[in-house]
């Protein structure tokens, strides 16, 4: 394909991806609010869009499948159908299938998956099943996605007399019926035919009755007669006998049916990215035991063949496992080639363009100087060189900052994951996300995806209890997993918190002893015990689910984070819950900052930590023995820090009443910081202190300001500590 077409295609796939995300997100929300009409319309519009554009590019499989989804969605949004759990489930599965179809279109491969067929039929069935007005009992059975049904219709048709005279041919219509099904018992009624000498050969006196067995639904059959319907006598009746009796299974049947119809190899599976070895898959699906596998592996033949020879597995099972492996490979392959493009905020691009402009100016100034250089102008040369260096450095930073993405993109897979996990485990779990706008470098975001997924699974699988257990413990039935991201003290912190059972100290200790990691009888503090779970092979899970518990997760998590230069820490309380905190260093990050002045120095205060700024009244400031200076803000006393004292500067004001107090907050605690003046607000690129100099208390990082000077970024927590230490000094 020429590049022209390719260019269009890329845009299509990107757009389709976005629409898919909208659809999936919308469907998840729809499950909680099945009545939300706006949601339904939003989902419908995105599906419609995918259908249209994919059709335009000739991706007919995608367009056709989407059309089926769109039909059902249309019925839902028009109120002709009610959103039942079964329907929502079907739509979600269809979305997954659609993802695969689009992926296949991208790779130019075909999908022969029987799943596509099945879902297509289910969607069609769900769209055409009788209209539901209300009533849970009714929706219970008619909303069931029926698997492919062969139905029988009895059809009676009397066409209008003028049929021939308008160029229509009944044989054509009957032929068409034959194309959508199997006709039987076709009989012609000639009773209206008058005697031969009275017959008008141009009129139609005949009528037909027949039986039609077909996979199509009633509407399709009716559409064959569409154009003569108005003036014909037509009856199409379903012969009920052949319908499958899915009714009795009720809503619980949905789960059974769903798992039977939709084998899971294609479920978004965070930790199973890498295609597994065939033997692994066989062991996991319980076909062979590890022993048998090991035996087989110790010989040189191909695993599958050996196992079949040993009669440990049937050829079909091996074949299925092979297929699974192939599919996983395809998915992994696709993932690798994915994500080579990014969306960029145009503002970032604009700044970059400006900088390049400045670079050009500086460079021309230099060359201008160079053409008539004299030693007396050395200082000018040095100055301009420095300018050049500044420009290039800033461009470098800006370009790198283009790779910054909000962490929300890494969080996006979790709602779906949690939903699937919670229904699989039979628990009620809600996911709360915060700090999605925190920006990180793209590669970092990609690398934390897997560890985060594992932690979330862990919480869902082992951390959170079943609804019954929770009620027994006087906890709310619904368990919560909270994902939060924020900047702090020069790092990015991501926390995964659950309100589940917490870690079991004794069990961990016992297991550690058993594995020889800890000597028997050794005395360990809590904080020494928790990190033990990060040791390879460690798992105290009682049951190995197919999701986690095999002890290969936690150590990988730790390794991944440490490879990025970060740390993992655990906080847990038995019976209350566990919090994992991932701390990643800020090698490059951008924050919104408030620029302030103290004397002649400029500092940056992270905007997120600023609550407010005030100019205090004389009576609000107090000095308390043992606590240092305090400021009264609306009745609460907060510790006060004079920035010029901390950094030993010459301020403009030493009277708090003449300067400005910034009320800052970190981890729930507040501190008031005194500065001379607030200059403004801007985005700054954080450069690490540790990497360029050394750690400095109270400073989170540094940045180059617009005028070329260095601005320090305050570390609020650090300042709080300083305030405490100083007060202790004062007390002394």
């Amino acid at each position: 394909m020429s590049s022209e077409f390719g260019q269009f295609q890329d845009a299509f796939f990107e757009e389709a991806g976005e629409h898919l995300a909208i659809v999936e997100e919308g469907l998840l929300q729809l499950e909680q609010h099945p009545e939300d009409l706006d949601l339904l319309n939003k989902i419908f519009r995105s599906a419609h869009s995918i259908k249209g554009t994919s059709g335009m590019f000739g991706f007919n499989a995608v367009a056709q499948f989407t059309h089926k989804m769109e039909t059902l969605l249309d019925l839902l949004r028009n109120g002709q159908k009610v959103v039942t759990p079964a329907i929502a489930d079907l739509l979600l599965k269809s979305t997954d299938c659609l993802k695969i179809l689009i992926e296949a279109a991208k790779q130019n491969s075909s999908v022969d998956d029987p799943t596509v067929q099945e879902l297509t039929e289910e969607l069609a069935a769900a769209s055409s099943a009788e209209n539901i007005q209300s009533g849970p009992s009714k929706s219970g059975h008619t909303a069931e996605p029926l698997s492919a049904t062969t139905q029988e219709f009895t059809i009676q048709w009397t066409p209008p007399g003028w049929l021939f005279q308008r160029g229509l041919d009944p044989v054509q219509i009957i032929k068409e019926l034959n194309q959508i099904g199997v006709l039987a018992d076709v009989s012609v009624d000639v009773s209206k035919l008058p005697d031969l000498n009275e017959v008008d050969p141009e009129r139609c006196y005949l009528s037909w009755s027949m039986r039609l067995g077909t996979n199509a639904d009633r509407d399709d059959v009716e559409s064959v007669f569409e154009f003569v319907k108005e003036d014909s006598t037509l009856t199409i009746e379903e012969v009920r006998g052949k319908e499958l009796g899915v009714r009795s299974e009720g809503t619980s049947g949905a789960d059974k049916a769903s798992s039977a119809l939709y084998p899971s190899p294609l479920t978004p599976d965070g930790s199973d990215n890498e295609p597994k070895p065939l033997g692994e898959i066989l062991v996991e699906s319980g076909v062979v035991s590890r022993q048998t596998l090991d035996n087989a592996l110790s010989q040189q033949k191909r695993v599958g063949q050996i196992l079949v020879d040993q009669k440990a597995a049937t050829p079909q099972q091996v074949e299925q496992a092979l297929q699974k492996q192939r599919q996983m490979e395809a998915v992994a392959q696709a993932k690798k080639t994915d994500n080579t493009s990014i969306r960029v905020d145009t503002a970032k691009i604009d700044k970059l363009i400006n900088l390049v402009g400045e670079l050009v100016i500086t460079q021309s100034m230099l060359s201008d100087l160079g053409s008539r250089f004299e030693m007396t102008q050395l200082h000018v040369l040095l100055e301009r060189m420095a300018q050049l260096e500044r420009n290039t450095r800033e461009i470098q930073e800006r370009v790198m900052s283009i790779r910054m993405l909000p962490i929300g993109t890494a969080f996006s897979r979790f709602p779906r994951l949690v939903r699937d996990l919670s229904s699989k485990a039979g628990k009620k779990i809600q996911l709360v996300l915060s700090g999605e706008e925190t920006e990180l470098d793209k590669t970092v975001i990609e690398s934390i995806g897997d560890p985060l997924t594992h932690l979330v699974r862990n919480s869902a699988d082992h951390g959170l209890e079943t609804p019954d257990e929770r009620l027994d413990d006087n906890k709310p039935e619904m368990g919560t997993i909270r994902l939060n991201a924020f900047h702090e003290g020069g790092s990015i912190c991501i926390t995964v918190e659950d309100d589940g059972r917490g870690l079991n100290r004794d069990r961990i200790l016992a297991k550690a002893v058993k594995q020889g990691l800890v000597a028997e009888g050794e005395k360990l503090s809590d904080d020494q015990i928790w990190p033990l779970i990060f040791k390879p092979g460690f798992s105290t899970a009682e049951k190995i689910t197919d999701v986690s518990g095999r002890g290969v997760g936690m150590d990988v998590v730790k390794r991944n984070i440490e490879a990025l230069g970060g740390t993992v820490s655990i906080k847990t309380v038995m019976g209350k819950g566990t919090t994992f905190t991932l701390k990643l260093p800020l090698t490059l990050a951008i924050i919104e900052g408030m620029t302030v002045r103290v004397g002649r120095e400029t500092y940056i205060v992270p905007l997120l930590s600023i609550l407010e700024s005030i100019q205090p009244k004389p009576q609000s400031v107090k000095t308390v023995v043992g606590k240092g200076e305090l400021i009264n803000v609306r009745g609460t006393y907060l510790p006060m820090v004079r920035l010029y004292e901390v950094f030993t500067l010459e301020p403009e004001h030493t009277e708090p009443t003449k300067g400005i107090l910034l009320i800052l907050e970190t981890e729930g605690e507040r501190v008031a910081v005194m500065v001379d003046e607030i200059l403004g607000q801007q985005q700054v690129v954080i450069k690490s202190m540790e990497q360029n100099f050394r750690k400095v208390e109270g400073i989170a990082g540094a940045t180059i300001l617009g005028d070329g000077t260095v601005g320090f970024i305050l570390d609020v927590r650090g300042l709080l500590e300083i305030a405490r230490q100083e007060s202790a000094v004062v007390a002394a």
Binding site: F164, Q165, R166, G167, L168, Q172, E202, F227
Partner: protein
């Protein structure tokens, strides 16, 4: 032995589009620019498989043409499709009374046109 069709419309672009669609499907097409022209062109022709005609044309409009055609033995049972911008029910009825097989609203989707033709013509 390809099928033959008569295409009548006073707009040359429209004629081109219909002809293009039909010839792509294997039809041999005779074009006429209004009813009178059409009648002239088909005199002497033994039979045609399909007629597609506009309604609003000078000299002889679509309805009149259909009535004329239906009088001829060779066109009595030929499927005649009206292709028009008009969507009013009265016009629909008028066409039906005159003997039209069906109609399609302009602008037409070629795929749809072929589907309709498939319905009325033995393939």
């Amino acid at each position: 032995m390809s099928k033959t069709a008569l295409v009548v419309d006073d707009s040359p672009t429209m004629r081109q589009m219909v002809t293009f669609t039909l010839t792509s499907a294997g039809f041999t097409v005779v074009e006429a620019e209004n009813g009178k022209d059409a009648v002239n062109k088909i005199s002497g022709v033994p039979k045609m498989d399909l007629v597609v005609t506009d309604l609003n044309m000078p000299e002889m409009d679509g309805i009149a043409l259909i009535k004329e055609l239906r009088k001829l033995a060779t066109f009595k049972f030929t499927p005649i499709l009206m292709l028009t911008t008009e969507s009013a029910v009265e016009t629909k009825l008028e066409g039906k009374e005159a003997g039209a097989t069906g109609w399609i609203v302009k602008p037409f989707n070629p795929e749809v046109l072929m589907k309709v033709i498939a319905k009325v013509l033995p393939s």
